[in-house]
Amino acid sequence: MLAPILAVTYHLPADGIRALCVTLLIGTPTLSLLGSVGAALTAGVRQSGGLLALLILPLCLPVLMFGSRATALAAEGEAIAGPLYLLGALLALAVSLVPATASAAIRISLD
C-alpha cells in the first residue's frame, strides 16, 4: 500500500512505479504461500523464528530477484514482460503445489 508513495519519494519514474505495483501484486501472494510452507514445517519446533527465516529466504530469493529486475527495467524504459511472466509462473507453481505441501508438512509436524 505504502510502496507507490515511497517510490515517489525515491524519484522513481512513473513507468517504474506502475511496474513496481504489478510486481508487488503478483509477488506478494507467492511470498505468503512460501511462508505458509515454512510455517507448516516449523510448526512443531520450539523457537522457530530464526529457523523459519533460514528456510524461507532462499525460496523467496527468485521472487525478489525477478521483481526488482522488472522494476529496474521499467525505470529504464525497457520492456518488462519477461520477468513478469516468470513471476506469474512462480505464482502459478506456488498456488498449485503449496497447499498439498503445506498440508503434508502440518501432518508431519503435528502428528
Binding site: 516449523t42 519446533v45 529457523l51 532462499p58 530469493l61 530477484m65 505441501t101 508438512a105 508431519i108 509436524s109
Partner: protein, 255 residues
Amino acid sequence: MKLPVWFHKFGSPPHFYRLAAILTPWFYIPAILLLLAGAYGGLVVAPPDYQQGDGFRIIYVHVPSAYLSTMVYAVMAAASAIGLIWRMKLAHAVAAAAAPIGAWFTFLALVTGAIWGKPMWGTYWVWDPRLTSELILLFLYIGYISLRGAFDDRDKGDRASALLALVGVVNLPIIHYSVIWWSSIHQGPTIKKLDAPSITGDMLWPLLVMILAFTLIFAALLLQRVRAEVLDRERNTRWVLDIMGTPVRGNPAGG
C-alpha cells in the same frame, strides 16, 4: 506398491552396514588414484589457457565440486522421497548423511569460484543468476541440516526435512539453466557439447578424470557416513550391540 525382495534386503540396516563396509575401499582406492592422475594431468600436462594463463587450472576443483553440489542434492532429494513414500528408515539415514557432504561441495564451489573471480572478473562476488542460485543451494543445505536438528523426535525431523529437500528441488533446474536463461557473466557449459567441445583434449581429460574422482570420493564418504548414521540410529538394537561387543543387558529394545 509391491517391492522386490532385494529392495527390502538392501534397506535392512545390518545388511547395508556390512555391504557398505565391503564397498567403501573399492570407492576410496580408485578415487585416490584418479585424483592423483587428474591432478597431474591438470597441473602438468594441460597447456596454459591462451587468455587466463595458469589461472584456469582452478576449474579442476571448481567444476567437479559445483557439479557434485547439485548431484548430491539430487541424491539427497531422491533418498528423501523414498523415505517419505515407502517409510524406509535407511533412506532417511542416507539423506541425513549426504547433506553435510553436499554443503561442503557447494561451499568449495563458491570459494574456488570467488578465488578465480578476483583476478579474472575483478571481483570476488557478483549477484549473478548462477552464483546466486548456487548460494541459495548452500542456504538450502544449511536450512535442511538445521531443520533436521531442530526436532527432538528423530522420526519427525526425518520427515519434515525430507519434505524441505523435495521443495528445494525446484532450485536445481534454476542452477543448471541459469547461464542459458539469463545473460550471465558466468560462462556457459563447456563440456556438454560433446559433438564439438569448446575445450582442447589436453585440458578436457584431466577435468573428466577429476569429476569421476570427486564422484567416487562422494560415494565413499557417503557410505562411511551412512554406516555411522545407521549405528547411531540403531544403537539400542541387538545387532549393533553384538558388533560393538557390548553385552546385552536385560531386555534390549528391538533386535
